[in-house]
Structure formats: structure tokens, C-alpha cells
């Protein structure tokens, strides 16, 4: 899945980005899963961009699970979205994806889950996350189910000679450590993240830039985007630009410069991705 995120970044890096041929290398088997960490609104926008890019640029069938109704979706995309209300509904819907392989000619090759923490909230009878054992088990169950489902769908895609395989999945998650609520764990880490790391090979971390550089550059918001994890360090990923940090900058709506390839996000601003060490 990190390859799809990297494609999103590269697509929106330059004004000519959308016109370029941007081949996506098939990820190694271990790199088909990514965990998107950080601001939930920005995460959702990134997931939507990933879904639209995968569907439009690569012709992939996308399944998008979220608890929040997405407004103003194109008709062609509406059938990609599913709105489970609880963790149990989400688990059943993910577990049922194999059933469609009997009837649907093309199985999904990208599975997206928006805001995992929302599904885990209340799981195991607790509103606290992290240290509740039942919640750890629920997080592991969903992650393992996604891994197993993606592995099965990859096999089906391969048998059918599809070009869109292997099946990838990406999940956004807001850790309690990031919300500032802290963790009961004395090490300061979120036990839920440790569990998720067992099943996700790539982390994509969104970190807001609060330095003076962003303000001086006249941008409304600036974010560092880091890709990390054992999936990134595998040989086929170390040769590309995926290991570099990315910057995501939001220009005020009236600021039209460098926005020819941008897409409007939830915040109503324009986005611009850049790779390197300076703001553009």
C-alpha cells in the first residue's frame, strides 16, 4: 500500500504530475499493508486521495470502510464506500469480501479502513484504548483479518491474471499518544500501536510542522509525511524515493500559485506535495 501512497505524493508533486506515466511497482509481499498515523481529518483526505488515485489511475477496485458518511461523492465512487457502525459489523464486512469472488469478476485490490480508533472505542467493554487487553485483541483480530483477506484476494487476483494485484490495505489510526491523552504505559508508547505494528509493514506518519518555516513561506498548514517500517526497508523499496520524507503544504484558498495539480481536501484548501528538504 505504501506504493499507492507514494504514487499519490508523486502525482501531486508537480503541475505535470497527473499527466505523467507513473508506474507502480508491485510491493513485496510484506509491504502490502500500511498504517496511516496522525491527524484524523488529514488522514481521511489522504485515504480519499489514495482511493481515487488507485481507482482512476490504476483501475483498481477499492473498498473503503468508514463510520462517517462521506458527502458529495461521484456516483461511480459511491459503491466503493461502506459504512459499518461497529467493530463487529466491520469485521463481518471484511470477512465477507471473499464471498464476492464467486460473483464479481474483479475482486477488490485495495481495502481502506478510516479511523480504526473509532471502531475500537468501546470494544471489549472499555472506552479506554491501549491498555485494555480485549481492545488489543480486537485490534489484532481486525489487522490479522485484513492481512488474511488481502492474502486470499491476492491469490484470486493472481489466478485470474489481473494486473491490479496484489491486494493492498491501508488503515488510518489516531493514537492516544498523538491526542495528548497520554498512555498508561510507563514507556510512553501506545500498546495498541505495538500490536498494530505486528501486522502492518509500513507506517505513514503525519507530523504537523509548527516551526517558523511554514509561516514564513506563507502556507496555512505544513505537514511532514514519513514512511517507515520494515516494508520500506526491503530491497525493492529502498531504491526509490519512498524513503525520503514528504512535505504536505496547505495554501490559503485565495493563494492560487502552484495549485494546478492540486485537489481540494476537506479543509477547503489546496494541497501541494513536495519531496526534499525545502518548502515549495
Amino acid at each position: 500500500m505504501a506504493d499507492i501512497l507514494s504514487l499519490v505524493f508523486r502525482t501531486f508533486t508537480s503541475p505535470a504530475g497527473l499527466k505523467k506515466q507513473l508506474p507502480v511497482r508491485p510491493p513485496p509481499p510484506a509491504a502490502g499493508s500500511s498504517l496511516l498515523l496522525g491527524d484524523p481529518d488529514l488522514s481521511r483526505s489522504m485515504l480519499l486521495l489514495a482511493a481515487v488515485t488507485a481507482a482512476s489511475e490504476l483501475g483498481m477496485r477499492v473498498v473503503f470502510f468508514t463510520q462517517t458518511q462521506i458527502q458529495s461523492l461521484p456516483v461511480s465512487l459511491q459503491r466503493c464506500f461502506s459504512y459499518p457502525r461497529t467493530l463487529e459489523e466491520l469485521l463481518l464486512q471484511v470477512a465477507s469480501l471473499h464471498e464476492s469472488t464467486n460473483t464479481c469478476p474483479t475482486p477488490p485490490s485495495l481495502i481502506i479502513v478510516d479511523r480504526l480508533e473509532g471502531f475500537l472505542c468501546g470494544a471489549g467493554g472499555s472506552n479506554h484504548s491501549g491498555s485494555h487487553p480485549a481492545q488489543l485483541s480486537c485490534a489484532a483480530h481486525l489487522s490479522a483479518l485484513l492481512c488474511d483477506t488481502a492474502a486470499f484476494l491476492t491469490q484470486v487476483l493472481g489466478q485470474r491474471g489481473s494486473n491490479s494485484g496484489p491486494c493492498r490495505f491501508i488503515v488510518s489510526f489516531l493514537s492516544e499518544v498523538d491526542t495528548g491523552q497520554g498512555s498508561k504505559d510507563p514507556s510512553g508508547t501506545d500498546p495498541l500501536l505495538d500490536v498494530l505494528d505486528r501486522y502492518f509493514q509500513v507506517r505513514c506518519t503525519l507530523d504537523r510542522d509548527r516551526g517558523y518555516g511554514a509561516a514564513a513561506a506563507g502556507v496555512q498548514e505544513a505537514w511532514h509525511v514519513y514512511l517507515s517500517g520494515r516494508g520500506i526497508t526491503e530491497a525493492s523499496f529502498t531504491k526509490g524515493c519512498e524513503e525520503k520524507p514528504w512535505f504536505l503544504t496547505f495554501f490559503p484558498p485565495e493563494h492560487k500559485a502552484e495549485s494546478t495539480c492540486s485537489l481540494p481536501l476537506d479543509q477547503g484548501c489546496q494541497t501541494h506535495f513536495s519531496s526534499g528538504s525545502t518548502f515549495t
Binding site: 510484506a30 467493530l87 463481518l92 470477512a95 471473499h98 485483541s137 488474511d148 491469490q155
Partner: protein, 138 residues
């Protein structure tokens, strides 16, 4: 299972598979190695193997999963491609304390696969979905 195990564990299962194919037995040195690598749950897992507790479920879609009957008769569904078990030991020892690689049920699946003694059973696609999505053992 296609999960990534430490090389020593992978080699151990290969040795068990080879030896069991030839002699229908697991020699003492491999039993000691199992105990050394996996700790106390090795003996419990071997007990589950002896009781033919591991079944590979298949559905018409081609989806597969393992079901293990625990010591108390509880059914645990384990995945084909990664480590997860809804049992309390997996939640506590593996997930929470990070003290073990796997629980006795998953180890029993590995051993049954190596020894080719896994039971086979067919279920409908809908039954498979329910089994895979169940959040806790019944």
C-alpha cells in the same frame, strides 16, 4: 501458515516434517528443541495434536482457515496467513506482554501441518465469514 517465523522455528518445523514423513515419529531431540524454542506451550500443543484438535476449514470461494478445539472444548479460529488466536493466552502473553511467539493453538496448527494430520472440513462461504469475523470464542 505462511507467517514469518524465526529461522530456527522454520527449520524446526521442516525437520519435524521430514522426520515424521519417514518414521511417523518425532524423536526426542526435536521434542527438546520444540520445548526450548516455544516453552511450556509446546507440550500442550502436542497434546492438541494427539487429540486431532486441528481442522482446516474450506469454503467454495477457496477461503481457508484453521479451527482448533481447545482443552475445554472451546473452538478457536486461526488465520492461514498470519498469527492471531482469540484465546486469552494469545491476548495476554503474545499481544500484551510480548513474551511469546504464539499460543498453543497456533503451534498445534503448525505441528499438524508439518505432520500432515490436519482434519479437513467444508463450510459455506457465509459460515466462513461468520467464523472469521467472530470477535471471541463461543
Amino acid at each position: 501458515m505462511r507467517s514469518v517465523l524465526p529461522a530456527v522455528a522454520e527449520q524446526l518445523f521442516r525437520d519435524i516434517q521430514k522426520t515424521y514423513q519417514e518414521t511417523s515419529q518425532i524423536p526426542n531431540d526435536l521434542l527438546i528443541a520444540l520445548r526450548f524454542v516455544f516453552g511450556p506451550c509446546a507440550l500442550q500443543a502436542l497434546d492438541l495434536v494427539d487429540q486431532h484438535s486441528v481442522t482446516c476449514l474450506s469454503s467454495p470461494s477457496g477461503r481457508k482457515a484453521f479451527q482448533v478445539v481447545g482443552g475445554s472444548g472451546t473452538l478457536y479460529t486461526c488465520f492461514l496467513s498470519c498469527h492471531y488466536c482469540p484465546c486469552p493466552a494469545f491476548a495476554y502473553t503474545v499481544l500484551r506482554r510480548n513474551e511469546g511467539l504464539l499460543c498453543k493453538h497456533i503451534l498445534a496448527v503448525y505441528l499438524c501441518q508439518a505432520m500432515a494430520v490436519t482434519q479437513q472440513e467444508s463450510v459455506s462461504d457465509q459460515q466462513m465469514s461468520i467464523l472469521l469475523s467472530r470477535t471471541s470464542a463461543p
